[in-house]
Symmetry: C2
Subunit: 495 residues, 2 copies
């Protein structure tokens, strides 16, 4: 999930200063209109240590009209608070209609802290998430605008920040604490992913902020808040509070960088390298598939990608390696009558492998948020809720011990065109190209957006997406084989 | 919660036979229309052992057109099922559009069984409930009609049923099992309450069926299913699937019996008995309030009831007994400006007591589902979701260790009239009667329904309602004092 905000986005001070005046004016105007309309705004600020949450809030506090804006932290609970139910401290500080509040950590801090330190179980986190969802939904339904911001730092920047602080500070005790803090980075990120995922509801969504570059960070936050406020005012005017989609990781319009942009399409392998590595990983995969069978660990591999990106070829290179008794390839095309008579996930549940076996899906349930979204086969509210449904589905699989690998085979539009032309001219490839392929191509930009949102919302640490640079088919095939081997090896090594 | 279906409702065989033809015809007509409209129907059947679930389903299977109706139990899982994620077995048996399925236990059985046997924790149950909610919501959103039936037997009938079976059966092993089963009745009921409450969502509601009398049981079930099917068809015609209210414990229209009908309004105490018992319980309450203070256990007492039922007098008799440093009485009238600027629960959160103290609410958050419902101050969707909100609120209090006692002071409309007239004529009572009281009186029936629904949905084992017969004020006051003492004693005795 967090790879969506490890994109090294940045903004120069000059760019920031150029955007500042209009952003500031827009925020102020929105604030005043929200006050006039008697709408409460709650901004929840959470994230990794050292991401500069305080700095951002300070800046925003300067930008907003200070009347009716409150900032609350919850790090030193009073006696009054400690002897009452935990939510009492939040309720007493909820913004009244027409006013605004920033809350540091809010109701997220406690479960995160406890889970990271293994003081509570995964089930406890999910229970906490459920209670949070209930609370936020209740406030949302009461008319409140809730904006949830998560500040992320990559592992590297996180370490550097703490290092820098150490040099400045004289408080040795605090430093020791922070070193320990960094050692927990991995655990913290994992807890955070679980909690964010379970509380990222259509009516109360999370925004992930890449916090490595401070100018970019502050402008992203300002833009997110501005958009959310304007959206809320729009809802007020139209009387329609239905959820709308927004990317989990917001972009500054003038400087968009997405996950797909980070795929290095120049990656390639020479023919010799290819043969060596293919053989190596195929042998290993053969062996691992048998080991998985004996250990009763199943695997599900999902292949998605642009038309002509080479899904079929990559799948073949994998299946060539595996004993045919151990796997099944499911090609997902138009559903059968019977499948159509059920929920869209039903046809995939049918093919969940028994313990020890492997199912490879050539296209999958992700069709719901790709082709069905782009072509309008699914209504907005249908594909919007599909992210949650899909995450739940995959969670049930991984909880049963099934290993999941998901591949997006990525090529550029130019490369696709080249391959289409080639298919047209080479007789034995002509069956592989249809009018539909050309039609899909025209919607490249819509698909690109759909893929980005999909990866942001459904890349979990337990079921990650692998974005495969597929301009060079050799490179792509080896990367797929290698990823499959690594996933199985990790699973077989045990927890 | 289950007191809503311990009402000793019954139906004679003759009454049943009289209702049968039209009910049967209506069910069949609804089934055929659902098939025509391509809507799937799933009927989940759960409840205590010995309630006759199988008998009911057999009868219904005879009544329905057998084509496209399936019955599934999940008690002997196959190897195929055991080696896949637990929901796989349910997915493969979900009814297709246009068909119907009965499922015994379904996805409820496993968490219930595990929790009753203390193999999983409360947090695990809540996690399971969350997953169930996700699954059911997904199917509901896909157009499926889900009807959830819970068959309840009172502790007494449960014991008698098992006893009767024992006499019939020759399988000694099974008998020993069932005796153990009855010993777990209490634990089972408690688990069931938790799971039902957390999965009773507006779009997938539970229906509690009183199963003591078989004719009544079967007719209730038929009526519930008929109503649900007709409601679903109505939604299909209007294109509007918004939730509608229904009572948790359905009634057969021609034989309505509700919780309030079971309040014995003839209960009374002589003057001497009253003085003795009042003094006894007041002394005890005084002592217990101090003990609670020392043990840092708080209490919240909620007083609701008909106008002129004697709330004020009952509260006074309690507060007279308690050291004034230990309690606060909050009279809930029209909200202040500041309170109006917040969520309706905010004004009650303000008065949550510190550890060791007591807050007495003269009227409370239940106004949301009483006066606000009846007078239309809250929209239907607002008071509908309030049951869930209130249960969540009280759960947060009880989890913090706060003891909750809730009283409904009940009188008949005739008694109320007598008291109103008295107030009119006695000078020192005239201030106590207003035009509003007379207006409320005209809506007696609406309020009666609202009270019934409220008690059904919000009477939890951790925060139960006490229905106080208040025709005789002396009896009512003593019952309140006694209940407060008992609640504190239980809490102070520890878990």
């Amino acid at each position: 999930m967090f790879e969506a905000v490890e994109l090294k986005q940045s903004l120069s001070k000059e760019e920031f200063k150029k955007l500042e005046p209009e952003t500031r004016a827009a925020l102020l105007a929105a604030q005043h209109e929200l006050r006039e309309k008697n709408i409460a705004t709650l901004i929840l600020v959470a994230g990794v240590e050292g991401a500069g949450k305080g700095e951002v809030i300070n800046r925003l506090n300067k930008w907003f009209d200070a009347r009716g804006v409150f900032t609350h932290a919850f790090w030193d609970e009073t006696d009054e608070e400690l002897t009452r139910p935990v939510n009492w401290r939040f309720w007493r500080r909820l913004p009244a209609r027409g006013s605004m509040a920033f809350m540091f950590g809010g109701w997220y801090w406690e479960p995160l802290y406890q889970y990271t330190r293994k003081k509570i179980s995964g089930a406890d986190v999910d229970e906490a998430a459920q209670k949070i969802t209930d609370l936020e939904r209740m406030l949302h339904q009461d008319g409140m605008l809730i904006i949830k911001l998560w500040f992320h730092l990559s592992r590297k920047t996180h370490a550097a920040r703490l290092q820098a602080r150490r040099k400045q500070s004289k408080h040795i005790g605090v430093l020791a604490d922070e070193t320990r803090e960094h050692e927990k980075y991995g655990a913290f990120i994992k807890s955070a992913e679980r909690l964010i995922r379970h509380t990222d509801n259509n009516d109360c969504q999370w925004h992930l902020i890449e916090a490595d570059d401070k100018w970019h960070r502050d402008m992203s936050v300002a833009k997110v808040i501005q958009a959310a406020m304007e959206q809320r005012l729009h809802e007020h005017r139209t009387g329609d509070r239905r959820a709308t989609v927004h990317p989990l990781a917001p972009q500054i319009e003038s400087k968009p960088v997405t996950i797909l942009d980070h795929v290095n399409l120049d990656a390639e392998l020479s023919r010799d390298e290819y043969i060596d590595q293919r053989n190596l990983y195929q042998r290993r995969l053969h062996e691992l598939a048998w080991q998985a069978y004996e250990a009763k660990r199943s695997m599900i591999a999902v292949f998605e990608g642009w038309d002509a990106a080479g899904k079929g070829g990559a799948i073949q290179r994998a299946t060539n390696a595996i004993d045919p008794r151990l796997y099944q390839v499911i090609s997902v095309g138009a559903p059968s009558d019977e499948e159509r008579a059920h929920h869209y996930l039903w046809r995939f549940w049918r093919h969940v492998p028994r313990a020890g076996y492997m199912t490879i899906f050539d296209r999958s349930w992700y069709g719901r948020v790709l082709v069905e979204r782009v072509e309008g086969f699914a209504e907005t509210h249908e594909w919007l809720r599909a992210y949650h449904e899909i995450n739940n589905f995959e969670e049930q699989l991984t909880e049963q011990g099934i290993v999941i690998a998901k591949f997006w085979l990525h090529i550029s539009p130019e490369e696709q065109l080249r391959r289409f032309e080639e298919r047209k001219t080479k007789a034995w490839k002509q069956h592989k190209i249809t009018d539909e392929d050309w039609r899909n191509r025209e919607k490249w930009e819509d698909y690109r957006q759909a893929v980005n949102t999909m990866v942001e919302h459904t890349s979990l640490s337990t079921a990650p997406w692998t974005l495969v640079p597929a301009s060079d088919k050799r490179f792509a095939r080896v990367m797929v084989l290698e990823t499959l081997c690594a996933a199985l090896e990790r699973a077989l090594a045990g927890p």
